[in-house]
Each structure stands twice: as structure tokens, then as C-alpha cells.
Symmetry: C3
Subunit: 341 residues, 3 copies
């Protein structure tokens, strides 16, 4: 329970209305009730604001007076402010230090570290203060993890990989598996190339559930600071990702591709190998990137969904676009010839 004026004193913003109102939770406009603080980030939802039972609301400057009967916190970026309040009301769970008797630990760990049941920690592992290793995790020999990082249950980190401070790794993620590297014999048989690089991950990185990041073949795979990686993502060997880039679910990034800083990669997008993507590039959902992108901006390649019958009718032409273009050229030529005759 917290007074709205105390919240503003701590996090900033302009308080309009009764600051003594108590809030204890954040909630959507539709679900909010007594004790709930809600927010309006998109003016499109002004109607929901009016019908909301929220005790207090975070608003942008333009919506300042959209509600006059309840306390408001007026800020430049309501969604960002909401994020800060949500963090204040929902702090990360406390790490309870200690090693569970059903864990297997072959390294010396700081007393502040928590290791849950079934976790297996190899030799020469270095964990920072307050690190927590969830149940069933497998942490390979020589791994280093910075202070404050939380590895949730059932994560694998292969030998010699490095994670920075304050990272959060979700269940099922695999960091440091072998890259897909083979040479081919004349018979067609594949000769495996040992993958001896590492994965090196910066500070404040979040890695989603069942995401996989391969170790480098010879050099390292490198993930910058503040990078956010959603679920079910595949990152190939020797990929490099710049700071603050965010990657949505189901994306695949093939080997040796370098992605700049502050990029946003939409869900199910793919980027083939050996490309360079500039800083501040946005790739739309479902887009396969097959060439390097050198200019910031939004890039797209996906198809308009249609009722199946329309799709059959329209898309059958895709097999013959070149013939269609030839027919246009022929028509132009015939008209040209007439005009000149």
C-alpha cells in the first residue's frame, strides 16, 4: 500500500488531484479496481479510461484532463512510468542463499549464491554475488556468471561461456551448444568441425524460454549489454548482437551475422548467415533478410493473408510473373511501333 504522492516523490511525474489515495497494484484499465493504479499509453483507449474503476491513473501530457475525478500522474511516457511502478510493486523474488542437498556442485561458490535441487555445476565455475541457479540447471566447467544474474530452472550453459551481471535466463534455454559446422566429403558425408569458441553475453540481458545460442566455431558468439531475446529463438555461431537490440519470438539468426545496436527484430523473422545489419534497424514480423542492411529504417517482406480461394486465384500468377512482364513489354512495343508507323 502506497500513497500516490509518495510514489510521485519517488519516481517523478506531476501529481494532479488527491495525492492521499492509496495504491498497491498495477492493473489494466479494464481490470483495475480499488487500490489499483492503471495507465493510458495509447489515446485510442480513452473510452476504457473513462469506464475504468482504477483508483489512480498514469497519463500523458495530452490526456492530462481526460479524467478529473481521480488522481493522475502526468508524465512524458506513461508506459515507461508504468514499467517503473510495476517494478516497484513487484520486485524480483529474493534469492535465498544456499546449495540444495540434491544439487551437485564441483566449484567453490560465494555464500550469497542459491543453487536449487537437481542443479549440476561443473569445475572452475565462477559465480558473482547473489546469483541464483534454478532447479535442474546444468552449468558446464569454466562458466562465469556476473553478480545478480538469475538462471531459472532447467537451463543449460555449456563449458566456458560467460554471462554478465543482472541477466535473466528463462527455463529451457541452451547457451553454448555447438554451431552447425561441417565440411563435406566427396561421398556426401559430413566431417564435424569442432566448435571451440564461446558465447559471451553482456550485462542486463534477458534470454527467453527454450531459446538456443550456439558457441562460436573458432571465435566467440557475442551478445551485447541490455539485449532482450524472447522465446524459441535460434542464434547461430559467431553471431554478434549490439547493445539494446530486442528480438521477438521464433526468430532465427544464422551463423556469422552481425546485428547492430538498438535493432528490433519482429517475431518469426529470419536473417541468413554472414550478413551485416546496421544500428537502429527494424525488421518486420515474418521477414526473411537475405541481404545486408546498411541504413537504419523499417524493412519488410511478408505476404498479405487472403481467403484461400482468393489466394489461389491471385498467387497462381507468381509462378509466371516473368511471362506477365514480357506481355506488358510486348504490348508497349506494339503501341510504340504503331505510333511510329
Amino acid at each position: 500500500m502506497m500513497r500516490v504522492d509518495a510514489l510521485v516523490a519517488q519516481l517523478g511525474g506531476e501529481l494532479v488531484g488527491d495525492g492521499s489515495v492509496l495504491v498497491r497494484r498495477v492493473a489494466t484499465l479494464d481490470q483495475a479496481g480499488e487500490g489499483d493504479l492503471s495507465f493510458l499509453a495509447n489515446p485510442k483507449y480513452l473510452g476504457r479510461l473513462k469506464s475504468s474503476a482504477a483508483a489512480a491513473v498514469i497519463l500523458g501530457v495530452r490526456s492530462r484532463d481526460a479524467l478529473t475525478d481521480r488522481p493522475r500522474i502526468v508524465v512524458d511516457d506513461p508506459y515507461l512510468y508504468f514499467a517503473r511502478v510495476a517494478r516497484l510493486f513487484n520486485p524480483a523474488p529474493m534469492v535465498v542463499p544456499g546449495v540444495h542437498p540434491l544439487a551437485s556442485v564441483a566449484s567453490t561458490l560465494p555464500a550469497s549464491v542459491a543453487v536449487d535441487a537437481g542443479a549440476v555445476i561443473g569445475k572452475d565455475v565462477v559465480l558473482g554475488e547473489g546469483v541464483s541457479i534454478g532447479a535442474g540447471c546444468c552449468i558446464g566447467d569454466g562458466v562465469q556468471i556476473g553478480a545478480g544474474s538469475r538462471i531459472l530452472p532447467r537451463v543449460t550453459i555449456y563449458a566456458n561461456c560467460l554471462l554478465g551481471r543482472d541477466c535473466l535466463v528463462h527455463s529451457g534455454a541452451v547457451i553454448g551448444s555447438d554451431g552447425f559446422g561441417f565440411a563435406r566429403e566427396k561421398t556426401g558425408a559430413w566431417v564435424k568441425i569442432p566448435q571451440v569458441g564461446r558465447v559471451v553475453i553482456g550485462d542486463d540481458v534477458e534470454i527467453g524460454a527454450n531459446t538456443t545460442i550456439d558457441r562460436g566455431a573458432l571465435d566467440d558468439t557475442v551478445i551485447g549489454n541490455g539485449v532482450k531475446i524472447d522465446n524459441q529463438i535460434q542464434i547461430g555461431h559467431n553471431v554478434r548482437i549490439g547493445d539494446y537490440t530486442a528480438i521477438a519470438g521464433c526468430v532465427g539468426i544464422a551463423g556469422s551475422t552481425h546485428i547492430g545496436a538498438r535493432c528490433m527484430i519482429g517475431g518469426q523473422a529470419g536473417i541468413i548467415g554472414h550478413l551485416t545489419i546496421a544500428d537502429d534497424v527494424v525488421v518486420s514480423a515474418g521477414t526473411l533478410v537475405t541481404k545486408s542492411i546498411h541504413q537504419r529504417g523499417v524493412y519488410t517482406a511478408n505476404l498479405p493473408v487472403q481467403p484461400h480461394a482468393d489466394w489461389v486465384r491471385n498467387f497462381s500468377h507468381l509462378r509466371h510473373l516473368d511471362a506477365l512482364a514480357d506481355r506488358i513489354r510486348a504490348l508497349e512495343k506494339r503501341l510504340e511501333e504503331r505510333d511510329s508507323s
Copy 2:
């Protein structure tokens, strides 16, 4: 071993031919031999039926007399009948109650529950009668799972998620991981929004291997009754899926999208966030849905595969479709002008 007439007495259908024949297994027409019951669901495979060595066959009404030398069970829907026979011959494995000494359990469980080695069960977990928790599973604090549900090895269910009765969750699935929710600071840095909703799953739901379902941000992610979800699927926060909807492998569904009942989503399809999909919608494989769909029906957006050289020739025009359309317009105008001159 079971007589065909006993089978028909139990499951229905019309028996034609000798009911005393014994069957003990279901098999495809090609593989079937003595003691095997097979089925013909698609009249296209009539040839295989004739050459099959099956002891008895399940047939549709139209194929009633396609075989006259062997006992037949004639039914409306041979595939559905086959499914019922297959279940009769292959019942789910018995749950052997008991908690393995290498499991870690912090809640009070019914005596009928099975917990295998390496499983870790948190506090305040409520399991129904006959629930089985596979080896290496991690069940978070406050999780509730309905009677008869089977959680196969190496599944993670995060804190406070709810599963109904008779669910089947395959290995590697992760239920309740954080949704991908961040607000952006002016520097480009991301501020994590705590994900405090739950995942709420109905009865008789199957969840495939390595599938991930994120918990809601503020409200819940909700999966209806009888929903079938294949492997490698990503379901974002606050998604809602209606009863009996089936989703094939590798699909991604982005946050806050609501999908109706009895939909079928093809493999590798994607649905972006904040959309509404009506009941009884079929989305074809590989289709990215970028707009809400309000009418039942089949929807498609994928490309015809071609030999690479043809693809290069045809698809190069896609970058210039607008110019092509302009040239058609110009031709029409020139002819128009001539006609009117």
C-alpha cells in the same frame, strides 16, 4: 486379443463378415498382418486395401463391399473409429503412485500421485488424484494441476499457473515463462515490466515437446478445454485460445491475440499480436496473419516453391510490382486516348 464382434459390441459400427476373427493391434494397411485391424479412411488408398494382409478392416459406408473376403466394421467415420480402437488397444500407461527418493517435494500431495526422480515441486502446489510428474520436472510454487493430468519428463511450470484435468504435457515444454514486455528509455535501454499474470489451461489439453506458453503481463494467458498444441510452439502473454482449437508445430502467436474455438492453425504459421481470430478459422501452413479475421473459413498466404532459376526470374518482379502496375495503367490510358481521338 479380442474378437471383432466383441469390439463392435463395445464401440459400435456394423459388422460384416466373420466376427470371430481375433485382433490385438492396429496397423496401417501396408504393415498389417495376422491379428491386425486396419482402416481405410481415404478411398484413394483402395489399392492398398486390396493388397493388405490385415485380419479385419474398418471401412466407410461407401467402401462397404470393397473387400468381401475379410471381416469389416462399417462406420460413418473410419478414422475416428480407428482412433477409438487404437486407444482401447493402447491405454495410457498406469501411474504407479509414489514419490521417488531423488525428487524434491515441498507440498503435501495425494497418495495417488507419482513423482519421478529429479522432479522438484515447490510450496503450495495442489495436484489432483492420479497426477503424474515426470523425471526432472520443475513445478513452481502455487501451481495447481487437475486429476489425471500427466506431466512428462523435463517440463517446467512456473509459479501459480493452473492446468485442468486430463492434460498431457510433453517433455521440454515451458509454461508460465515471462512475457516479452519492456518499456524503452530514450537511451534505447529496456525496462522490464514484471509479468504477474498466470497461465490458465483447461481440461484435456495436450501441449507438445519444447512448446512455450508465456504468463500474462497483468491479466492471464488462457487456453481453453480440449485445445491441442503441437511441438515447438510459442504462445505470447495474454493470448486466449478457444476450446478445441488445434495448433500444428512451429507456430508463433504474439501477445494479446485472441483465437476462437475449433480453429486449426497450420504448421509454421504466425499470428501477430493484438488480433482477434473468429471461431472455426483455418490458417494454412506458413501463413503470417497480420490482420484480424472475422469470418470462419480458410486463410492462406504462402509462396509457390520453384526451381531456383525460375524463382529468380519470376520473383525479381516483386520489387517492382508497382512499376508494372503503372505500365499497365499507362497502356490502358494510351489505348483509351486513341479510341477517343
Copy 3:
């Protein structure tokens, strides 16, 4: 540390220059220094070769004299030779036999086998000599794994599946989960069809992190010898894959599809069910295959990425391609009529 002439004596190739130089590591041209052996596989990187500090270099015949100041190994296929040297310098880690006290083993295993902490091995499991089972693995009843295979941490192999010799399975992989097989009742409810086939995997197969391979419905799912499968791949029930086929990350292969030998399937490609793909077929990244392919060759269906505004302008026509084709036809007809009038 190894002399270059000793390396050539062991692995072949033509030595040019001082054979007494010592090498102990493989490295990229850019990273190589003293003691490093590098390679030039693509003549495009000749510039990097000249500036490289590598102690010795593997070269193709055409680049034989591109460097004259350092020892060279001249071979037909520098990348393949590099792979062999890399394997020589980086042998697979020794398996240290023994069963960890925190493992749970219900079968009799050869003394040469290693089973790490938290692994759970069912009844009637048959492991070949020198097999290693990583931490947290779950190996179901009746599984058989050939000699020399390494199962890395947190892999699940369901009951009765077979793996050949010298396989390598990465963390998070799931082998033998149920195929996605259901019959539909008139109400829309799904009746599960028990999946009673197995997964049968050949020798020298590598399976990537978090990849899933479903067991067959009635018959088996079959993976040939020397097949290489990357991360995050889904292989449906009753799929068959021929020898030496390689499949890149995030691919989905739907049920009952048969893929030939020596195929290469690009990342994020998809193949729908019940198709046949010939030997030596290459499918480009991101391509959805919806028809069988009977001829070897390269097949493609993906879209050119464009700046978003260009994409909007060009791709809006895709919804109306049929109308565009009609307009071309109408123009042709009008010119035809004129010519004949």
C-alpha cells in the same frame, strides 16, 4: 604442438615451405598468430591471407603461391582439410566412466559408460560401450543407444527409441515425443490417436539443441546415417530422412514426409506432410515446400526484403494480381481486335 611436416605425414596434402614450423591450434586468418594454422577456403579472402599472422596456412591448388614467406599445405579442399586438423587438435572430451550417485539407473550398463548427476535411466535400456549420458537426461524404458554416442545434458529420449553409434545429441533435444495425431468428433473435440511407433536413428547423427523428433503413429520415424540436424527443428511422426541429409536451424517437417539422401534444407524452411523429396535436393532458407520434389536441384520460395514503404507500395498489388493479369489480357485483346479490323 606439432610440426607442419608431421601433420602432412598424417593427414596428407603437399607441403610447400619450411616443414619444421610448429602449430598447435586452428584459427581464422584474422585471429591467427604464432602457433596457429589457418586456411583459405574462398579466394575472395585473399587479402586477409596476406595480412594474416598465421604460422602456416592450408590453401587450394590455385592459391598455391599466394603466400611465399610461410609454410603452406596445398590440398584439393582446404575447408575439409581444416576440419580434419581441427578435429586432431580438438578431440572430443574423454568419457570418464561411472554412474554419478545422484543419477537414477534401472538398467544394467557396461562399465565403460558415463552417467552424470540427475540423469534418469529407465528399465531395459541398452547402452553401447563408451556411451555418455549427460546431467539431467531422461532415457525411457527400452531405449537402445549405440557405442560411442554422447547424449549431452538435459536430453529426453522416450521409451523404445533407437540411436546408432557415434551420435551426438545436444541439450534440450526431445526424441520420441508423441506425433500430433487426432481424429475429430462432430462436436469439434479431438480424440487422441496413441502414437505407438518409435524413432529409429542411424549412426553418426548429430541432433541440435532443443530439436524435437516425434515417434511414429503406427510405423517408425526414421533418420538415416550421417544426418545432421541443427537446433530448434521439429520433425513430425513417420518422417523418413535419407543418409547425409543436413537440416539447418528452425526447420519444420510435417508428418509422413520422406526426404532423400544428401539433401540440404535451409534455415526456417518448412515441408508440409505426406510429401516425397528426391535425393540431392537443396531447399533455400525460408522456403515452404507444399508439393513433392522429384528432381535434384535447388528450390526456392522466399520474398525480397524491402524498405517498408516500398514493400507497402509493391506488395499491395499481390492481393489483386489476378485483376492485373485480366487487364493485360484485355489490352492484348483490344490490340488484337484493332489489328484485325
